[in-house]
């Protein structure tokens, strides 16, 4: 049975109640909006990149606990990382959110994901996967829009 405790882990509720990196960044920071039109979740990612490193990231938006906690966890996970590392984290997170059995759910792999592994339980509630992935898709779009 899928327990609500798998979905609403304490770390998720903590990031929902006390979101990290809230706010905006002035230009030339990149600003990208993401929406889930069906449920109304909304994330705005502000990204400042210096010398190939995410110097700062700020978020605004509104939505359910999963969408907002996921964005907060994401911001903490990518801040200070190189773009290459960030792309790798995005890829690992998307793997975590797939229902395929080939995905490595071993404790070692989950440990390597750090706090974002707390979102692992979301896959047991498939309708909520899109809540968890919204921020990450928006971040991926922001990376694509960085001036080269």
């Amino acid at each position: 049975m899928n327990s609500l405790d798998d979905l609403y882990r304490e770390i998720i509720l903590d990031h929902y109640r006390t979101p990290r990196n809230r706010g905006e960044l002035p230009p030339p920071a990149v600003r990208v909006e993401g929406f889930n039109p069906l449920c109304g979740d909304e994330i705005v990612v502000h990204l400042a990149v210096t010398d190939g490193v995410i110097a700062d990231i700020k978020l605004t938006g509104q939505g359910c606990s999963i969408s907002q906690a996921s964005s907060s966890l994401m911001s903490a996970a990518v801040k200070g990382k190189s773009l290459e590392q960030v792309r790798a984290v995005i890829s690992s997170f998307k793997q975590l959110m797939t229902l395929e059995e080939s995905v490595d759910q071993s404790p070692a792999n989950l440990r390597s994901l750090g706090e974002i592994a707390a979102l692992q339980g979301v896959v047991k509630f498939p309708v909520r996967i899109k809540c968890a992935t919204l921020a990450w898709n928006t971040l991926a779009q922001a990376l694509d829009e960085l001036p080269s």
Binding site: M1, L4, Y8, G63, S65
Partner: protein, 411 residues
């Protein structure tokens, strides 16, 4: 004589025997769709097993039977809504949304010109907004809105001004978010006095109280079968005969023509004019059974039952949760139906709904296809509870228990 016992209605619906997440099913999403009683499913099965044939023109016996079922549904609907011109005023569509599209794209596109005004309200469903916006783009009409006050009711203080230049007023009988029941009879009088017609969105209201188009004095009515214990896939646009006769076809194809040659076509009279192609025959059989079933319950009985449930739920929600749970809608049951939108402080509607699902309680989170209304009240979503004729006080008991769990989980 109508007899009504909500427990008997519940006994007619197998889904209530289900156990969801170790709890008996508590279905509180009738505003989205209602659960059909066995008689509706049996009617559809009977059609497919014994009478299945295409309607109209068939000479053999089963084709005549299928036609009798399909046209019988039209008759039953006409009686149910007291259509002055009888069955020929009832057009079958896919659902209420398609009925509004037919209204806008046939009546609107042929009768309205640039600068004409269609008056809606801020509490309309997108189905009664978007087709008019499309007509604004294609025909240059103006779309105007009646505001909603802080009391969750239409702000009619400047109605005379709003009605200036209006050709059509199109309003919901009951808000699918607020539960507010609008004074359609008064508004029909005002619309007609201003030289406008009035369309009624009955999607929410038809299943929960009597709808008499002559008493209300409306000109158009749209609704869906699946929100009144019937099947999905069939809805109704009712219009006064002379209005339908002036409307051009909506979709072209078989069944809607009078004659076709290599040079062109002429179209059939209403309602066939608007029903191109093989129609939803089994769904019409189901709708016919649903109309009979609802009539046997008595719409006044259904309305009274749901008013009791709503009054009880409103009182207990306020008593149990106080300020923590804000009700987005009128706080008493005067001119109010059994739709209760909740804004739980600190818990997003999707999370409320997720926790409730764990208790087997089905409610709906979201904007309910009424984004202008959400914006009016500064919300992105609500958690919506809605009753049906089979709802019982025990459903509210389960709701309150599950809601307490959601509130404590999020602190």
């Amino acid at each position: 004589m109508a007899t009504f016992d909500a427990r008997m209605v519940r006994g007619d619906i197998a889904q209530f025997n289900r156990v969801i997440n170790n709890h008996p099913l508590t279905y509180l999403d009738s505003g989205a769709t209602t659960l059909p009683p066995r008689t509706v499913l049996e009617a559809m099965n009977r059609y497919y097993e014994l009478h299945h044939a295409n309607v109209h023109r068939g000479v053999y016996q089963t084709a005549a039977e299928a036609t009798a079922i399909y046209e019988g549904a039209r008759e039953a609907v006409a009686t149910f809504i007291n259509a002055p011109g009888g069955a020929e005023e009832v057009v079958f569509t896919k659902n209420a949304t398609e009925a509004f599209n037919l209204l806008a794209k046939s009546w609107g596109a042929s009768q309205l010109k640039s600068g004409d005004v269609v008056l809606l309200s801020e509490m309309e469903h997108h189905a009664n907004i978007v087709p008019w916006f499309q007509l604004r783009e294609s025909h240059g009409i103006e779309v105007r809105f009646i505001g909603v006050g802080d009391d969750f009711r239409l702000d009619l203080s400047n109605l005379d001004e709003l009605l200036r230049g209006v050709k059509l007023v199109s309003l919901t009988g009951m808000s699918n978010v607020l539960g507010t029941i609008n004074p359609i009879k008064d508004l029909a009088r005002a619309a007609h006095a201003a030289g406008a017609l009035i369309a009624l969105d009955g999607a929410q209201s038809v299943a929960h109280s009597a709808t008499d188009v002559q008493d209300l004095d409306v000109d158009f009515l749209a609704f869906s079968a699946h929100k009144m214990l019937g099947p999905t896939g069939i809805g109704v646009l009712w219009a006064r005969r002379e209005l339908l006769e002036a409307m051009p076809p909506f979709l072209g194809g078989g069944g809607m023509i009078a004659d076709v040659s290599v040079n062109g076509f002429t179209f059939a009279p209403p309602p066939a004019r608007f029903e191109a192609g093989t129609p939803p025959i089994a769904e019409a059989a189901g709708l016919l059974a649903a109309v009979r079933y609802m009539s046997s319950l008595g719409m006044a009985n259904v309305a009274a039952h749901e008013a009791d449930l709503t009054a009880d739920a409103l009182t207990r929600l306020a008593g149990t949760f106080g300020e923590r749970v804000r009700i987005i809608g009128p706080s008493n049951v005067v001119d109010r139906g059994g739709v209760i939108s909740l804004d739980v402080q600190g818990v997003h509607p999707h999370d409320v709904s997720q926790v409730l699902d764990q208790h087997g309680v089905c409610i709906r989170p979201g904007h309910h296809c009424a984004k202008p209304l959400m914006k009016r009240f500064g919300l992105s979503a609500t958690a919506r509870v809605s009753f049906g004729p089979y709802s019982l006080v025990q459903d509210t008991d389960a709701l309150l228990e599950a809601l307490a769990d959601a509130v404590s989980m999020f602190g």
